[in-house]
Symmetry: C2
Subunit: 335 residues, 2 copies
DNA sequence: CTGAAAGCGCTTACAG
DNA sequence: CTGAAAGCGCTTACAG
């Protein structure tokens, strides 16, 4: 037997479909008795309102879409977890489209979500204001994560990479390692750029006389290894190395160990992200932790707010703090 | 201006809405010229068919739902990636609901997906045949992942934990370590049970005289550490330890190292899963790798097949192989 | 090939 | 409080 519709419930409860609708939504405008009868009938028939019909008439899907790039394992799952938990708490469904690298792919994905979602969460280095204008109706609420977009038209939620980097570099310097080298991330990467700026700012402030020492990297373990080799070849070796992410720090660590350089005695080392591996390498890696679950949660909550009241017409740019995690690799006391 | 509807396109192209519909879907039953005119009009108006209206009339959502428990980082992201890629390739959307632990939570999630999805992918230790019967219409195609459900009513796709465990234990024994101990996973866990059975089978076959040596564990690093301590206290120590997952192997490794036991010289060690950490501990951990992306991909493809042809009324039970990854911790030559 | 019309299952003014 | 009716945007027999 096919699924019960509102008509079946109406017949069963001997009322009109209008009353069924009213009783089952909110319940105002129906006597308690009628409402009770209707509910009973609905239960008996195992009635579940047809989602599509409801979307069509109410223009609400109760679904939010998440557009994500091809992401690193832990980051991805934590982010989704945060979004998912917050969405569930608000009765929203989550439509996911991940592993997008090209801009064209992202455009297709975004367009195909049209009409299926009430709002969009977008994390993508490729998505800028022009992209949004071209591919999305202006009315659709959007929250951008970790985005360089500065246009006040759009809501943005960023991780405070800058402050995290500043804090870590300051920590290294205060531990007595003035000559801090930095292993940079990929060219155009937004996070990478902010972390580098944090390094520069902290050096300027806390060790103005020490030379800047920036090595190229691309977030891969191998590029960290190469940077480590380069460091070893420098006439004056740094006292500490801060890598723009953990994987590069791990690669660098391998290079240092191979060369017999002791970490942290000879060179202190720190990364960024606090991936699970960080605590399992020897020595355990100091790093900057981003509460990714919170990033997802806050982003969803912001978006949900936009769905409720479109009044907040003026877009906001929020920032989420990060914290330093001190382990053995930077020579300070272990936590 | 509000989004264009099929009516707007019809007016613009000076045809009926029926023709617009035909031209835009498949295009049969319209002359090439008309079709062209309609397409042009649709483009001009940036027409995107309303998803909900289409779902309502076609009874197809082109969306599949994924119900997942609270999962370990890497596993979760790889699984979603596999599902997502395969879904996109087939033009299907992906509705995700994760982080469910309780059975009641899962029931709510599954019911709320009703009418929003054409089929369901379910990974959950808690979901059995009774659950499905109670919470899902019989017509809804479902594929169960890593499930103990044996009911021929349901389609199941499992990782071949048994074969993986057998292969690893056989490898350890053939490397000369007849006395292999096993650190078990949580009581009711399906994967854990199969891995244990694999250990038992391989021991019976390849080292029938060696004693079985099974220690309790719960998949946590700490339980692996405890098991390691227990092993060290045994009068006759094993020559090799096979942990039911990598995290326990890592915990066990810590215990062995603390006690000055050399791995692999004194005791060889192996895990299961090939989590990223496995290759970063010292010595690098031998393990059994599951191609999780494939698990997701195959599951989605199976489900998609069910959506096309409901003819395959007889449910299938597929199995996905895994492979041994030999690293330093088991004393064989390094790969 | 093309169009008028019915209908998918719901919600919501509008009367009573 | 309750019901009859219109309408959300689409697809699909049914005629022509």
């Amino acid at each position: 037997m096919a699924a019960a519709t509102i008509k079946d419930v109406a017949r069963e409860a001997k009322v009109s479909v209008a009353s069924v609708s009213r009783a089952l939504n909110g319940g105002s405008g129906v006597t308690a008795a009628t409402s009770e009868r209707i509910r009973a009938a609905a239960d008996r028939l195992q009635y579940i309102p047809h989602a599509a019909a409801r979307m069509l008439i109410t223009r609400r899907t109760h679904t939010i879409g998440a557009l994500l790039p091809d992401l690193y394992g832990e980051f991805f799952s934590e982010l989704i977890r945060g979004i998912d938990l917050a969405a569930r708490a608000r009765g929203l469904h989550l439509l996911v489209s991940s592993s997008h690298d090209g801009v064209e792919e992202a455009a297709v994905a975004v367009r195909s979500m049209q009409g299926r979602v009430d709002g969009l969460l977008i994390l993508s280095g490729r998505v800028d204001a022009a992209f949004l204008r071209a591919n999305l109706p202006r009315e659709l609420p959007v929250v951008l994560l970790n985005s360089a977009v500065k246009n006040p038209m759009y809501h943005v939620l960023n991780v405070d990479n800058h402050a995290g980097a500043v804090a870590m570099v300051a920590h290294l310097i205060q531990a007595g390692h003035a000559r801090v080298a930095f292993i940079a991330g990929p060219e155009g990467n937004f996070d990478a750029r902010q972390r580098e700026q944090g390094y520069r700012a902290a050096m300027a402030k806390h060790a103005p006389k020490a030379p800047l020492n920036i090595l190229a990297g691309d977030f891969s373990e191998e590029s960290g290894y190469r940077a480590g080799r380069e460091l070893l070849a420098q006439k004056v070796r740094p006292r500490a190395v801060f890598a723009a992410n953990d994987m590069m720090a791990v690669g660098c660590l391998t290079a240092l160990k191979e060369a017999g350089v002791r970490v942290p005695q000879d060179i202190a080392l720190a990364g960024f992200d606090d991936i699970p591996i960080a605590r399992y390498v020897t020595p355990a890696l100091s790093t900057v932790r981003v509460r990714i679950v919170d990033l997802g949660r806050v982003a969803l909550e912001h978006l949900a707010g936009l769905l409720e009241g479109p009044d907040s017409s003026t877009a906001s740019a929020q920032t989420l703090g990060c914290e330093i995690v001190v382990r053995e690799s930077c020579g300070a006391s272990v936590t």
